[in-house]
Amino acid sequence: MSLAIPDRGWYRAPAGAEKLWIGLALIWCFVMSLMMPFWHFRGKQNSRGEAYAVQPAAFMARTEKFVAANKVGERDGMPIVEPAPGGEAYLAARMWSWYPILKLRQGETYRLHLSALDLNHGFSLQPLNMNFQVLPGYDHVLTLTPTSKGEFTIVCNEFCGIGHDKMIGKILVE
């Protein structure tokens, strides 16, 4: 019994059903462990955490440069910016907006640079439900290929102060 001192010589190798279960569970654990490296090489969705150190001010300067060079329009005072297909795109997160609005082309691959100017923010692309962490001081690079068209919404899903729920951005895909 589990409250009592076990009898001497309690060591017993697993047998019967418990042995079978341990074996099955172990195999399942191996399958799950191998799925990750498998997907890393063969799967299309991975989070490699590619990142570079960057000061918030420097990141904002790069973003402004990117906006100035690629601006194609404006919506409610927020620039709409279309990076070159296959090119670099910048998205700055700050309390409480995503800057700028990005316009991408279906089937093209972009290097999307994400960083925060103040606190942690959460990049949550809806309705796809793809989520990445955005930190100040880190230029987090996602190599992203939009495969569907439409208007996508970026919801902030890391708490960033009182306006957190209103921190909404847009990605347009044509």
């Binding site: 019994m1 589990s2 409250l3 009592a4 001192i5 076990p6 001497r8 017993r12 697993p14 047998a15 019967g16 059903a17 418990e18 042995k19 279960w21 341990i22 569970a25 172990l26 399942w28 654990c29 191996f30 799950m32 799925m35 990750m36 490296p37 890393h40 799967g43 969705q45 991975n46 989070s47 490699r48 955490g49 590619e50 103040d118 606190l119 942690n120 949550s124 809806q126 796809l128 439900n129 989520n131 962490q133 930190l135 001081g137 880190y138 987090h140 690079v141 996602l142 190599t143 992203l144 290929t145 495969t147 569907s148 919404t153 919801v155 708490f159 009182i162 957190h164 729920d165 909404i168």
Partner: protein, 572 residues
């Protein structure tokens, strides 16, 4: 109660003067110092549970968009309050009580030092009060994780440091007691399984709490303006060394309690001591760096590191939980079959002592933890799948199944023994007590499912209002409503639990001098031919069926998530 029959003959042992008493139910000797501090810590725990529970209903009724109760600043304030009171204070105080029990009573030992126990208790309590006051004053709206560069009042960090160090001191008392018991030979041979599980919990707790100190001390000195700001990513990594590994402490404590209740309520004994202990050892060995689970979509940590630490080196800690998930029900099944309940696969389930709330709570805890908490946890914590789950309500749905439906419910269940045996009062309102685990467990099940489904639709966690996003439709609102209804049930269950405990301690009939009242269930060992199935390694047929269903459910859910992942945009 008759399980006393299987315990070491009472009367003989070593009551060190008046420092111990003999339990009238089990015949075990109970160190009076340990008893006093078990009481203090358990009472404090329940007070924090109550505070967290009041916060819980406010939160749930705010996130339920149709009600949307709180103002925005109070929502985040109460969210901070709920996380800390529940996950840290309620759980830690209760765990210290469990440790004090596990190192004394089963070993016929006395607690190492009342002074150290006082110190631990005073530090923990003052830290917790400090944190709560600072939060309610609105000076720490940073949520439980307090990610830098968010900054709270220095007393917030100081309070958390006090709680962590106070707990460490309590854990030290536990280790010292084990050492003294061994040295003074209060027992011969190996420590009992329950103590072994508590030992595993204590070892992990030390590692965990050290992470807490490493991250909180520089944050505190920064908040005082003495040192520079620590790096936000470093903070996340070390903070989760505290935040995640402490969950393994909870799992260990919970599993130890599963074994304890299985034994007390049905007379079950471990089907195989080696296997059960080995599984606890796996927890200790393979839990390091599980903080990776929270950094899977973070910048600056590479894929290799993520994959390796996600699987805690081949998921061997998951293996441990799966082993307990078999041996715990198997031990109950074997005990029931030895009593002659052998009809079919599940005849033993029908005749189990359901009228005992400790048993009902224990079974619900096993099922909710395993089928919901475990399966979702491993899946969401898979490196790539985390992309479609990180920081959505799926995460909150997952851990309300583990630490609430699992650990909290197990702690509640064992309280149905703690109060009669340690406080020596029989429960009042026994009908209500029988209902309580079902209310709480059922409510939390709905909370967890509502959150998980809403999260699958993209609803973020820690989010005051989903309307500004303008994209969440009727289904998301419906699931938040399911969560809200579940929350009402769960909180009623929680309040009932607190009421039962307080009412019993104040007004319950004393059972000093006689065994505790049973719950109108067959006594644990009655009719048992204990040990008669010890050599039949296939006797647990119902458990075999149950675990087969479990594995199938696990595989379906796991691969369904890979499929969902494959449908989103390619990303590297």
């Amino acid at each position: 109660m008759s399980y006393a029959a299987t315990l070491p003959a009472p009367g003989a042992p070593d009551f060190q003067g008046a420092v111990a008493r003999r339990c009238d139910t089990t015949g075990l000797s109970v160190c009076l110092t340990a008893e006093r501090f078990i009481k203090f810590n358990a009472v404090a725990a329940v007070v924090f549970l109550l505070l967290g529970g009041i916060a819980a209903i406010l939160l749930a009724l705010t996130r339920w968009q149709a009600v949307h109760l709180l103002r925005v600043d109070w929502f985040y304030r109460i969210l901070t309050f709920h996380g800390l009171n529940m996950l840290i204070f309620w759980i830690l105080f209760f765990e210290v009580a469990v440790l004090y029990f596990a190192c004394t009573v089963p070993l016929k030992s006395r607690l190492f030092s009342p002074k150290v126990a006082w110190l631990s208790f005073a530090m923990m309590l003052s830290g917790a009060v400090m944190v709560n006051v600072v939060i309610l004053q609105g000076k720490a709206d940073v949520l439980m994780t307090s990610y830098l560069p968010l900054l709270a009042h220095p007393l917030f960090y100081l309070g958390i440091i006090l709680v962590a160090v106070g707990t460490l001191i309590g854990v030290f008392n536990f280790f010292a007691t084990l050492y003294v018991a061994k040295r003074d030979r209060t027992y011969e041979g190996s420590i009992p399984l329950v103590t072994f599980g508590a030992l595993a919990a204590a070892i992990i707790a030390v590692v965990t709490l050290l992470h807490g100190a490493i991250v909180m001390i520089p944050t505190f000195t920064y908040s005082m303006g003495w040192t520079a700001q620590p790096d936000p990513m470093w903070y996340r990594m070390i903070w989760w060394g505290l935040g995640h590994q402490s969950q393994q402490v909870n799992v260990c404590a919970m599993v130890a309690i599963w074994y304890l209740i299985a034994n007390l309520s049905t007379g079950a004994k471990p089907v195989n001591e080696t296997v059960c202990r080995g599984a606890f050892v796996l927890y200790i060995l393979f839990i390091n760096l599980a903080s990776a689970h929270h950094l899977l979509v973070d910048p600056g940590v590479g894929a290799t590191w993520k994959i390796w630490n996600t699987s805690y080196a081949m998921y061997l800690a998951v293996l441990a939980s799966m082993i307990h998930g078999f041996t715990v029900p198997a031990s109950v099944e074997v005990a029931m079959r030895e009593k002659g309940h052998v009809k079919g696969l599940f005849g033993w389930v029908m005749s189990a002592p359901w009228r005992n709330p400790a048993f009902a709570g224990f079974v619900l805890s096993v099922l909710i933890f395993g089928f919901i908490g475990g399966i979702t946890g491993v899946t969401l914590g898979t490196q790539q799948i985390n992309i479609i789950a990180h920081n959505t309500l799926r995460i909150t749905g997952h851990f309300h199944a583990t630490v609430v439906g699992g650990t909290t419910l197990a702690f509640m269940a064992v309280t149905y023994y703690v109060i009669p045996l340690i406080f020596r009062r029989d429960f009042i309102w026994r009908g209500a007590a029988r209902l309580q685990p079902w209310l709480f467990g059922g409510g939390i099940l709905l909370v967890s499912l509502g959150m998980s489904f809403a999260g699958s639709l993209g609803v973020p966690r820690r989010d005051y209002d989903i309307e500004p996003a303008g994209i969440f439709g009727p289904a998301a609102h419906l699931f938040l409503g399911v969560m809200g209804v579940g929350a009402i049930l769960a909180v009623i269950g929680l309040l009932l639990f607190v009421l039962l405990c307080v009412g019993t301690i104040l007004f319950g009939e004393s059972n000093a001098g006689r065994p505790m009242a049973d719950w109108g269930t067959a006594q644990a060992q009655v009719g048992s031919r204990a040990g008669s199935l010890a050599d039949d390694h296939w006797a647990m047929k119902g458990t075999i069926a149950l675990t087969a269903v479990f594995l199938a459910a696990f595989a379906v859910y796991y691969f369904a998530n890979w499929k969902a992942l494959a449908d989103v945009w390619p990303v590297r």
